[in-house]
Amino acid sequence: MKKTISLSIIFSFIALLLVLQLLPREAIAATDPKQRIFDYANLLTVEEKDNLEIVANQYSAESETDIVILTTNDTQGKDIIPYMQDFYDEQGLGYDKKHGNTAILTLDMKNREVYLAGFYLAEEYLSDGRLDQIRNKITPDLSAANYYDAFTTFIETSSKYMRISPWINPELFIFKLWFQILAPIAIAAIIVGTMAFHSSGRVTVNDRTYLNTAQVMNRKDRYIRTTVTKQRKPSDNNKGGGGGFGGGGTSGGGHSHSGSRGSF
């Protein structure tokens, strides 16, 4: 009886949490004519593009940051970063103002490179590290040419990260479902196991119960020899993984941004 009550309390609590998590999603879906998908490389169908505009519009409003997709076959001889910076300066992207909060995914189809960047609020919330995490998430889809899926993931994940305090690592293991399920089970098993083990009575004598006197008659701690081994310091080059390198920068217009770069 007691058991069923406690179980039903647990389940209703979980249900409540799930509902609470879903609630804010349903807010604001007002249409605004702003363009956020610039598919110059024609990777998307018209329908996909329209859908992404709606998704981008909704998530941009939630995170108060414009989430922009930029694809190109021709960077006009520029590197991917200056190309993106110039695009930002020219277009005056930004949710709150011209040249404002923006998260932007740039895809250079010619050199098969991807660059993620965050301006202003997004520079703080989408740090280089977080952008690396997002890029690692979408790279498999990009390599498999599932551009629509990759862009959707980018929009959703960026928006989610924008609402998480910058000092928290959103991919930390304690936020993972497998950990949230396995860790309490392991702890419960250990606790109940010790309870069962101790149910037959514990040993309550210790090392000193019967020891009357103890004396060290003779001791020696003689130094013999020294060995030294050396190892090359791990270099910082392979940080970021997957061929990614470089962080943020500042655009020609003087707008500083975070960044994560890689190939796919």
Partner: protein, 342 residues
Amino acid sequence: MVIHYKCPNCGGEMLFESNTGLLTCQSCGRTDNIEGFSDDYVTKTFSEEEAKEYQCENCGAVIITDADTTATACSFCGAAVVLGDRLSGILAPAKVLPFTISKEEAKAAFQKWCKNGRLTPKGFMEANRIKGITGIYVPFWLYDLDSDAKVDAVGTKVRTYTSGDYIYTETKYYDIYRDIDLNFQKVPVDASEKLNDKLMDKLEPFEFKNLKDFKTPYLAGYIAEKYNYDDNELFPRVELKIDKYIDSYIRSTISGYQSVNYHNKRINTRNKNSYYVLLPVWMFYYDYNKSEHVFAMNGQTGKVVGKPPLSFGKIATWFTSIAGGGFIALKLISWLFLGGLI
């Protein structure tokens, strides 16, 4: 030789009372100090040499005992009898630790202990099914030991530092030697064949400063056993028992090293003194689910040991509550952090 204690006042039966530590008459309430009890009122009958039968001093019936019993109750009249010849010569205990917990206190404490078991089935706690409570003086050997431990080991101290492009690991090796004299006092080892050694080990510690010189009246009203193994036969067990204490002392004298590798450990233990003592234990026989469970209680401190049955339902409840609670707590944490509330 059968010993029976008669009241100098009324001729009634006298038993050892754990609360007062005195011999007490069951009919008139007279109490007598054990040290000063006159031999005139102790009835002793020596059995003829050949006869292995004992006769009750009270009713004359034949006392039925097994070969190890030294104190018991007559199965016909219930009179407490002590079998003196099984407690003399090399079988004479040097000391006895009298019961300080009476039968009623033991019963109440045991019931309380049963109720506290967090995994014990409900029916087990509620049903009053104590089938029998027996106060037993269990034979133990107490050893005073001198140990000499000589240890050779190699210890390392590790330091890492960086210089230029390299990380250096510097390991210094030390030759360690310790010669330690240890003295242990009154290490108990259970000398009865019948009782489970593990159960008896868990009953410790006993407070040995209350040991009394052995007098047979302490046994009046209890069951007592004689030892099955002598001090030489049990010496390996006591060595094994102090072995881990010696190891932990050795480790406490070697400090400041990252790793210690023992090469040679010679422990030499000498039996300085060993004495035969009787220690007080309450035994409980408890019926549950058609099987008998045996529990033992330290007759001096009241500590209870023994394996109670485990309730599957209670284990499941504890398990799901802890696991479910942990899951909710983690979900709540991630909801607070990832939901942007913090």
